[in-house]
């Protein structure tokens, strides 16, 4: 199957996700230091094909996928998930429709 993307890209991706979660003080959080630590540790290896390195790369790719997809899922959930009774106009807007307008007022309204 297709090969994984480079460790640098995955590392940057994870750190970007952490920054998106935490905000300004993202450098102090646990996950940031741990991830950087792990990437540095697994970098240096004497062999050309290192199984442990591949496994660590796969794990980091999975973690990046976890962070990104949780964020995207929650974003969609906030938009679309049932919030109880919504306004008709808002509801129509969610599926991309607009309510019809009748400038003269409906027939039975005075």
């Amino acid at each position: 199957m297709a090969s994984l993307s480079s460790p640098l890209r995955i590392c940057r991706g994870i750190l970007r996700e952490i920054r998106a979660i935490k905000g300004p003080e993202y450098k102090q959080c646990l996950a940031y230091n741990y991830v950087l630590d792990q990437f540095r540790k697994n970098q240096i290896t004497g062999e050309r094909y290192c199984r442990a390195q591949e496994e660590a790369l796969h794990a980091s790719h999975s973690y990046l996928c976890l962070l990104t997809s949780t964020r995207q899922h929650m974003a969609l959930y906030d938009i679309y998930h049932g919030k109880g009774q919504r306004d008709t106009e808002e509801m129509a807007g969610i599926v991309g429709l607009r309510l019809p307008t009748q400038p003269g007022g409906k027939g039975w309204e005075k």
């Binding site: 199957m1 959080c29 996950a31 969609l76």
Partner: protein
């Protein structure tokens, strides 16, 4: 200092006993339904009805709470070493507990940090349905359905008889071709790797899995510990395929690829009829999150790493 009016005290006590009586009766009814014994709180101000979530009430609850959200009650999350080399999570100095009441312990640091990060991610309200690693750890620790490892293995292997990869269609021809191109390589890979025969079928009953194949897989799954097996069964349930789960856990394919292959027919139909964001995308991201969490959980539960330093010799 205000002198307390004796009649006032009398009236308040009466009120409290009245309130407590009805509250007690309600609580007893609740307990008999839920099935655990517990001493109810004595004083309830009338305005605050029974708002305590079930997690706080129960200590030996047979049932899990159905609370999906609650307010964030902590500021900092940190991890600490516990007994026996296990890691614990601290929410603002208090130790985190599982829904079953046990102390939350993770076997290694990586898992603990992943869980701590999930709790750290929450803002204002805790959304338990987005905390997949925490859920998996809680399931492994509490084992609420009281299953042994063998039962989990049996449940996992049941999916092989109706494996997604092995269930093929006969028409439309583009879909048939897509299934052959995408699914056949994975099937060949697993047949080579484990030396088994699985095969695909267009029959409604699914492929005929020989007993030797089941035995090989059962033996292989027996080598995983209980935690890894919990995670692996979770991945199989999410992807609806034993073959894809094995390919993912053996690091042959990535999470995104596994999810794509699992949803192959859906993606085909989306390509034809169009994408509906509030259904397709929501499903896709949720499946990705769950599968990634499961794969990571298995990886962390079954690995043990040591760092060996080589001395430079010249």
């Amino acid at each position: 200092m205000q002198v307390l009016n004796p009649t006032w005290i009398g009236k308040t006590c009466l009120l409290i006993t009245l309130v407590t009586d009805t509250m007690l009766r309600n609580l007893v009814r609740l307990h008999s339904r839920v099935g655990h014994a517990l001493s109810p709180p004595i004083v309830y101000p009338r305005s605050q009805a029974l708002k305590l979530p079930l997690t706080l009430l129960s200590v030996n609850s047979k049932y899990y709470s159905i609370i999906t959200e609650r307010k964030k009650f902590y500021k900092d999350v940190s991890i600490s070493h516990g007994e026996g080399g296990m890691f614990e999570i601290n929410l603002d100095q208090r130790k985190m507990k599982t829904p079953g009441g046990k102390l939350f312990t993770a076997p290694n640091e990586a898992l603990a940090i992943a869980v701590a990060n999930e709790w750290d991610t929450q803002k204002d309200t805790l959304k338990f349905y987005s905390m997949h690693m925490t859920t998996l750890c809680n399931t492994a620790l509490d084992n609420p359905t009281f299953r042994s490892k063998d039962q989990i293995i049996t449940a996992a292997l049941k999916y092989l008889e109706t494996d997604t990869i092995c269930y093929r269609v006969e028409e439309p021809p583009t879909l048939v071709e897509l299934q052959n191109n995408e699914w056949d390589p994975v099937l060949n890979w697993i047949e080579d790797r484990y030396n088994v025969v699985i095969g695909s079928s267009t029959n409604i009953l699914g492929p005929e899995i020989p007993q030797a194949t089941m035995d090989t897989f059962r033996q292989h799954l027996g080598s995983y510990n209980f935690w890894s097996m919990t995670g692996l069964e979770y991945v199989i349930t999410q992807l609806k395929s034993v073959v894809l789960a094995f390919a993912l856990i053996d690091k042959h394919i990535t999470v995104e690829q596994a999810v794509l292959l699992s949803r192959l027919e859906e993606e085909f139909q989306i390509g034809h009829w169009g994408n509906v964001e509030w259904a397709h995308d929501v499903d896709l991201y949720e499946l990705r999150a769950r599968t990634a969490a499961g794969a990571l959980f298995v990886h962390f539960s079954s690995e043990s790493s040591t760092v060996k330093r080589k001395l430079m010799q010249d």
